[in-house]
């Protein structure tokens, strides 16, 4: 592999600038004449905007403009879109409520913007915002999903009677009913998947800069996919044609999905910059992040699983209510449908599955993809069901899983996905060995003697990543293709620039992507740079989410590398007077095999650019690009086992051990992979024990600061014990499956299964706060 090639634990190149405070984030950028925007946001969950009086604010020194929702509608800036069309079981399209960038008439969640103040400084804008008087007429609000679907509930959108977004089904209902009719045992479970606030470390921010002479916009924004942002802003929001809009996503401090979407603030900044003729900056604060970054999860589900007399699963029925919040965010419709229900087979042979998903509007912040997006909800449900079944059927939970594992690949599930490869027994074995599963009963007995309740919980997750084959997602309603692009530029002196449509916002692409180049060419990674995040520099690309950057983005780079290498070999062969077929690339040199004849890469590059002596008919230059569209999803899978103790006096959980055995296919940089797993596990544990975005009955957020919303901290989580059992992904040449979301997908079920094992009660909702665990222990 070489010291910097594939599989090497190379220290991250980008960390020097991050840990020395030299990162360049949107808020670090200052433009000449820049103004600052402050949004005026609704304090009500549901209200009519009766009038906005900005006369006093406009008289304040330094105030440039106060712009309202009515103005943005009058200027024909488009409403926000949802880019994945879902059809209800009755054949009707999903019901999309109109979402203008600022509300001209009706606000539907606390934090929705009604106007924006633009001033010479951030503080002046904020001062002036306090002088703007908005006259609201409050309307009845509904925040709870179950309440929202009841007759007589306050209605959010005229387009969506009964507050229903869609009622969607998947699977074979008849076959599933038949399986249940013959079942030896049926296991039932109700679970809630708690709503989460994504909380990237860097809040969202945007700077819009309109150049009147060129009629050209530049947008600096905290985006995971700048090209998609440009596409949506130009094609749907009428901001500018694509060639007149440059989107730059510089260093971005975490996204977890929340920075996929194009938000009202970017739209308003662009529109306002043209209106006032000056650059407009907006940097959200933490409260705005809690109120307006798309939330994650928020499902309520009833599920039933049928078993035959040999404890083999014969059928699965699922009914899920998914909270959308007040509006349909960009990819919200796909999350509880194609990213969720298609994974309901888990790691198991389930001959018949039927799932129904009802999407519901409520007067809360919109909900969309958050690390795992649908797959954590599916995995949590299935793994809680398996544990419940093991308890009910009185079999060992690990054994019940083994009995039902899929062992033959490829495997077509009854819910669209066709798993390409995997070895579920191998990861279960590895995890059980790592945690000494067999020794658990003795440890439990010892803990009991010390007054502690000890539990162990297994979670065997599978996810569909590397999102996604464009044709397949197109047929399911996606509005975009999900390929990736790359370009390899070898400079005249032999250094290399890789331009990628993937976007790094913490993942370490600037290191891992270089490792592929080091692997193939044998050059040090210091000779390679990764260019991303700027639509003027990089050809169209789809961005980073769904654990796709290695499986799809890096494969695109590989394809471009192969083209470049092929041309370089021709040049080398020509220079060395050898046959192209005899040229091999080693340690940065092109060699004629079996001889000592060689030419170094810089010389090949120089030859390409001087073009003095190229093979006949060859174009000068050494630069190639490629687009790669995957043929299937990838299927990372693994087993997490968690051992913990519950303090019966306080209900507090303490971890004893947490093991993760993952199958991610090939690892490019194991250290970075471990970091991704650590982060994902912490988010999964955060969901299981701490995090919950809560609204009161009137739609007022209760958890809009870190004083109330509990984020996991270092001392809340254990030191993780990680290992890998590898089956290479047959779908891409590097054999990569992806690792970005696994931890967040698999961890929460392991934790809850362990706590419920410890306390001997099966029903426990997330987050399992000490209070909730204590009450569950002591409930009759």
């Amino acid at each position: 592999m070489g010291v910097e090639g594939i599989g090497a634990r190379v220290v991250r190149k980008e960390d020097k600038r991050f840990i020395t405070g030299k990162g360049r984030y949107v808020d670090d950028i200052k433009l000449l004449g820049m103004t600052h925007a402050h949004f005026i946001r609704s304090p009500h969950a549901h209200a009519k905007v009766k009038g906005i009086d900005s006369s006093a604010a406009l008289k304040m020194p330094g105030v440039v403009a106060v712009l309202t929702g009515q103005q943005i509608v009058d200027d024909k800036v488009g409403n926000l879109i949802c880019g994945w069309a879902i059809t209800s079981k009755d054949g009707s399209p999903m019901k999309m409520g109109a979402w203008p960038a600022m509300a001209p008439e009706t606000v539907r969640f606390v934090g929705q913007a009604v106007a924006v103040v633009i001033a010479d400084s951030k503080n002046l804008a904020r001062d002036a915002a306090e002088a703007v008087v908005v006259n609201y007429e409050e309307l009845p609000a509904v925040a709870d999903m179950q309440a929202a679907i009841k007759a007589g509930a306050p209605q959010l959108h005229p387009e969506a009677p009964g507050n229903q977004v869609y009622d969607w089904v998947i699977g074979d209902e008849g076959a599933t009913d038949a399986a249940f009719a013959k079942a030896a045992n049926v296991v039932k479970l109700d679970v809630t998947n708690n709503r989460l606030a994504p909380n990237a470390m860097e809040p969202r921010a945007a700077i819009a800069d309109y150049d009147a002479a060129e009629e050209h916009f530049t947008l600096y924004t905290t985006s995971q996919n700048p090209h998609v942002a440009r596409l949506v802003l130009s094609a749907f929001y009428n901001i500018a044609p694509e060639h007149k809009l440059r989107v730059i996503a510089p260093d971005v401090g975490g996204g977890f999905g929340s920075k996929i979407f194009i938000y009202p603030e970017e739209m308003v900044a662009l529109w306002a910059s043209k209106k006032i003729g000056r650059p407009v900056k907006w940097t959200g604060d933490r409260t705005e992040a809690f109120l307006t970054d798309a939330h994650g999860r928020d499902h309520v589900t009833h599920a039933e699983m049928a078993f035959d007399a040999n404890n083999k699963i014969t059928g699965l029925k699922v009914k899920t209510y998914a909270n959308f919040g007040a509006y349909m965010s960009l990819f919200s419709s796909s999350v509880p449908t194609y990213l969720y229900a298609t994974l309901l087979s888990g790691q198991y042979n389930i001959p018949a599955i039927h799932a129904e998903v009802v999407g519901v509007y409520t007067n809360t912040t919109p909900v969309d993809a958050y690390r795992g997006a649908g797959r954590p909800e599916a995995s949590y449900l299935i793994e809680r069901l398996m544990e419940t079944a093991a308890r009910q059927l009185k079999v060992d939970p690990a054994q019940l899983r083994r009995t039902n594992f899929i062992t033959q690949f490829p495997h077509q599930t009854p819910v669209i996905m066709a798993y390409d490869t995997g070895d579920f027994n191998a990861s279960l074995d590895a995890a059980m060995k790592a945690i000494d599963y067999a020794g658990f009963p003795a440890r439990k007995a010892k803990a009991k003697a010390d007054g502690k309740l000890r539990g162990i919980g297994v979670s065997c997750y599978i996810e569909a990543c590397g999102i996604a084959p464009s044709k397949a997602v197109g047929s399911l309603g996606a509005g975009v293709g999900l390929w990736e692009s790359a370009e390899v530029r070898v400079n005249p002196v032999g250094t290399i620039e890789i331009l990628t449509g993937s976007h790094s916002h913490g993942q370490g692409h600037e290191t891992t992507f270089c490792q592929l180049v080091a692997e193939r060419l044998g050059v040090p990674i210091s000779q390679v740079s990764i260019v991303h995040g700027d639509t003027d520099k990089v050809q169209f690309g789809m961005g980073t989410y769904g654990s796709r950057s290695a499986a799809v983005g890096l494969t695109a780079i590989l394809k471009a590398m192969e083209k470049m290498e092929s041309k370089a070999k021709k040049i080398a062969a020509h220079a060395l007077e050898a046959s192209e077929a005899d040229i091999v690339i080693e340690n940065g040199e092109f060699k004629v095999t079996g001889t000592d004849k060689a030419i170094a890469l810089p010389m090949v590059a120089l030859a390409a650019y001087t073009a003095h002596n190229l093979p006949d008919g060859m174009e000068p230059g050494l630069k190639e690009s490629a687009f790669y569209d995957p043929t299937n999803f990838t299927f990372p899978a693994g087993t997490y086992i968690c051992e913990l103790e519950v303090d019966p006096g306080t209900g507090k959980t303490s971890f004893v051990d947490f093991v993760a055995a993952d199958d991610f296919g090939r690892l490019i940089n194991p250290m970075i992979v471990e970091g991704q797993v650590h982060g994902g596990l912490v988010q999964g544990i955060g969901q299981a024990l701490l995090e919950h975005a809560i609204y009161d009955a009137n739609g007022q957020p209760v958890t809009a600061s870190f004083m109330d919303y509990a984020m996991p901290r270092a001392d809340d989580v254990p030191s993780f014990n990680l290992s890998h059992t590898t089956t290479l992904c047959p779908g891409n040449p590097l054999g990569i499956k992806g690792c970005g979301e696994a931890g967040a997908i698999g961890a929460s079920a392991a934790v809850i299964n362990a706590i419920t094992d410890a306390i001997g009660k099966n029903n426990l909702e997330m987050p399992a706060t000490p209070d909730r665990v204590w009450r569950t222990i002591h409930a009759a």
Partner: protein
């Protein structure tokens, strides 16, 4: 944050006179409460008078059976002070579980008790130890000083200069941390004075702020042991209830934390 004028006082007297000059002055100590409130624009003092650099407000003194902690001493210095560890180790422990390192390097005992957050740790220690709050005008017993949520006996412009603790025979503190803020979801400080008096104070639990727990005091007076509290029932009436803990849960915590504090008491 709104515009404000910052003053750095070099003595308590100077601080008091600067305070009197401002139209709406506020003292600043560690700023761990005041500054976030100002940043959220929930407070808009005309003048901020920084007490943090006043020498006479710094440090710890142990003389005989009295431990004096000056008002502007930061938690970290209290936590690591040898006299505190020797005389009342429970206070050293309390500061070690207060907030996080950043808060401990900035926050002060004076700021904490002046603010009297219903979930703050120090008020429980003062009440259980029978401490006296010294100000630039008078001495106030802890019992009289804490007057409910965010309310104290301090008059406008009055400066806390120190807290004086009688060294107890034994004292202990246990706290269930609030999962988000790390304040006390419920914390209980138990103390037995050298004359045999038992006081127990709970913070984070009651709707009216830090409080004594007479039922536990009586049980411990009869028998200073965790088991003595087994039979005590704590009513959930008047206790706080929020998303992190029901009133019943806090009632349970008062008992459990008291037992653990007794077990840990030295």
């Amino acid at each position: 944050m709104y515009q404000t004028t910052y003053h750095r006082a070099s003595s308590v007297d100077e601080a008091a006179s600067l305070f009197a000059k401002g139209s709406e002055s506020k003292f600043l100590a560690g700023g761990q409460t005041l500054l976030p409130v100002m940043k959220q624009r929930l407070a808009s003092p005309s003048d901020v008078i920084d007490l943090g650099k006043i020498k006479e407000l710094q440090g710890v003194e142990l003389s005989g059976d009295t431990l004096i902690i000056k008002a502007a001493t930061i938690y970290y210095d209290i936590m690591t002070n040898a006299d505190v560890k020797k005389a009342i180790p429970a206070i050293s422990y309390l500061t070690s579980v207060l907030g996080d390192p950043a808060v401990r390097y900035r926050g002060t005992i004076g700021g904490s008790i002046a603010n009297n957050d219903p979930a703050a740790d120090f008020p429980a220690a003062l009440l259980a130890l029978g401490a006296t709050v010294k100000t630039n005008k008078r001495s106030i017993s802890a019992e009289d000083f804490f007057q409910g949520l965010f309310t104290t006996a301090l008059e406008d412009g009055e400066i806390i200069t120190a807290v004086s603790f009688p060294v107890p025979a034994k004292a202990g503190y246990e706290k269930m941390r609030h999962p988000a803020s790390r304040f006390a979801l419920t914390g209980v400080f138990v103390a037995q004075s050298k004359s045999g008096e038992v006081r127990v104070a709970a913070t984070g639990a009651s709707q009216s702020g830090v409080m004594r727990v007479p039922a536990i005091e009586a049980a411990l007076k009869a028998n200073w042991s965790p088991a003595a509290i087994d039979g005590v029932t704590i009513s959930a009436n008047g206790l706080l209830a929020d998303i992190h803990g029901t009133a019943e849960y806090r009632a349970n915590l008062i008992k459990v934390m008291a037992q653990r504090a007794v077990a840990a008491a030295r």
